[in-house]
Symmetry: C2
Subunit: 159 residues, 2 copies
């Protein structure tokens, strides 16, 4: 049932693994995990009961969060591979930040089932990658997203 | 200290007040509240300690959530006013859904201080409104957003 066996977030450095969306060290967070699925990227997440918009449907902010962290994770996967590495090989993965996020909400997203975010990654600059994502609930594409992700600047960390 | 005295979310019908971002009935949620500030709209939210990206900074999904619910709330404020009503006058407010969401992350958003989302609302169709939002941490604009919000279809409610 763990379809994403090796996730890029498992290989973020400890100092970079606190994100509410995808940080393994954030106890309250969503623990989103993103891995390769062929030449596409995959994140699977089942929203919590409270993540509703109105009864029966998921709120937009959760879907935006999934697309956001799936985007930075997918960009990290792609750069890591370009540098000769795969998640799980013991090498610390690069960390990206989101420059921009766009979400088109196609259909109401039903609650109670796993959401599958499937992404395609394109390098648009050595430090900037575009990730186009579709979010499926079952067979239905409920949202489409685009993230521009940039390599996290060294100056980003608080000293 | 309650700068948004009358919020549109206080006047959503009980069945429509469950959103994780802005529903007053969602015990686990963020309880975002949006009101008029002159001819602009205002939502103030102080992220929780766990809403970090890396230590010191807020994760993008939270900012996207604020812009999203601020967008639907601002559109509801504007349509409500067009129909002759203001939040707090005892009339149930219209409810919008998000058709699209765009966020440009301008600067890292520091944790530990209230975020102020300030919006401008434009009617682009009687049932579709555009909300352009800037999110400030103190004097610094950390993110800019655009939401296209549509009146929630009657068919959206689960019977």
């Amino acid at each position: 049932m763990n379809e994403v066996k090796n996730a890029i977030q498992d290989d973020y450095g400890d100092d970079y693994a606190w994100c509410y969306g995808c940080g393994r060290n954030n106890e309250s967070g969503l623990h989103l995990r993103t891995g390769w699925k062929g030449d596409k990227t995959l994140t699977i997440y089942t929203p919590r009961e409270e993540h509703k918009a109105i009864p029966g449907f998921i709120y937009g902010g959760l879907i935006a969060s999934v697309i956001d962290c799936h985007g930075t994770g997918s960009a990290a996967l792609a750069l890591h591979r370009k540098l000769g590495h795969e998640p799980g090989d013991g090498v610390e993965a690069p960390r990206f930040v989101t420059a921009s996020l766009h979400v088109d909400f196609m259909k109401p997203t039903p609650e109670g089932i796993p959401l599958r975010a499937i992404g395609e990654v394109v390098e648009i600059h050595p430090k900037k990658w575009k990730v186009v994502t579709e979010v499926f609930a079952g067979d239905v594409c409920c949202a489409k997203g685009e993230v521009i992700a940039a390599v996290m600047p060294d100056t980003f960390m608080k000293k």
